[in-house]
Symmetry: C2
Subunit: 194 residues, 2 copies
């Protein structure tokens, strides 16, 4: 049985060369906010036993999903920025993160005052592939002496090793769709089944 | 009488040197999603006579607000990207935009397929200062032969000329807070009154 997200990916996702899954018609360029609400509700259900004080994501495509999650959990949302902005004050938590998509290295920063020691932080992002961005966000939470309450990912590329690394570290990682394999010749997408 | 946003700016906004207003505790780094919902409802009221088919914004800090607006209007949201991503297909609408905040020039792009001719596009953004980003978004809507249904801005810097230029072009521009002046010595913020 496919869930609502897997069905939507099959309907509107497009497989491109290089194991790229384009979901720009509903998730990371144009956004279907009703779908984002369903995603937020699903994360609320999966993390219902966790205390969550704040949602953390990284710009840009995580922001919409994280906003809907913040609304669902009734907590503030915080997004990490990818380069030093003159509008952020001096005291920052930062980490270097390599972008798979853009083949660049970014400084990822969060203003220190927005993550307090012992706070329970739920990390949300749209994609998980090699896990570099996610490990950066985990590092930022740790630098603040806060706790990772869990990690919610919309689409995990199961054929890359990010998910395995994160799960081995002991975090509750919930991916709403895990792609086992894709074929850009036939357009087929196969999901991981438990 | 101050509105809910002006009150919040006085409460949590911080005036910094160079006419910078920091609202990073509730609007453009940490986000108060209840406030974003109130903002979205206010835009819905102000544009209630307009037909709106889609919300358009620009990454990153416009995304949260635009998502809440899309939910309120019951339409999809689309965000313009600031540099060419390998995940965007060839057919794009693009324009060069200067960033006041980062002192850089960005290529701002939208995938052509997501704005159809004659569509009614409501443009949403967090800040309006010199209006470069906004004029870029208007240009993108025009390139697509679509219509600007209106422009909703959270905070306008009334002492810069962006708002005047846009209003002179005949657009319905609604700014929820217009700052007349700020004083980084005293921390005072003065709003425009009709």
């Amino acid at each position: 049985m496919m869930n609502f997200l897997e069905k939507r990916i099959l309907k509107d996702g497009v497989v491109a060369k290089g194991n790229v899954l384009k979901v720009d018609s509903f998730l990371n360029h144009q956004m279907d906010v009703e779908l984002l609400e369903d995603i937020a509700k699903e994360f609320k259900e999966r993390f219902k036993t966790q205390k969550v004080d704040k949602i953390l994501t990284i710009e840009s495509s995580g922001i919409g999903i994280a906003c809907m999650c913040a609304k669902e959990f009734g907590v503030p949302m915080l997004f990490a920025k990818k380069s030093k902005s003159i509008n952020i004050e001096g005291d920052v938590l930062s980490v270097e993160v390599e972008s798979f998509t853009h083949k660049t290295v970014n400084q990822v920063i969060v203003s220190k005052k927005f993550i307090r020691p012992q706070e329970n932080i739920l990390i949300i992002d749209d994609f998980l592939a090699n896990g570099c961005a996610l490990q950066g966000l985990i590092s930022i939470v740790q630098q603040a002496d806060a706790k990772v309450a869990g990690i919610g990912i919309v689409i995990e590329k199961g054929f890359q090793n990010g998910g395995k690394i994160i799960r081995n570290l002991g975090y509750q990682l919930e991916s709403l769709a895990i792609i086992e394999s894709m074929d850009d010749q036939t357009g087929e997408i196969f999901f991981h089944k438990d």
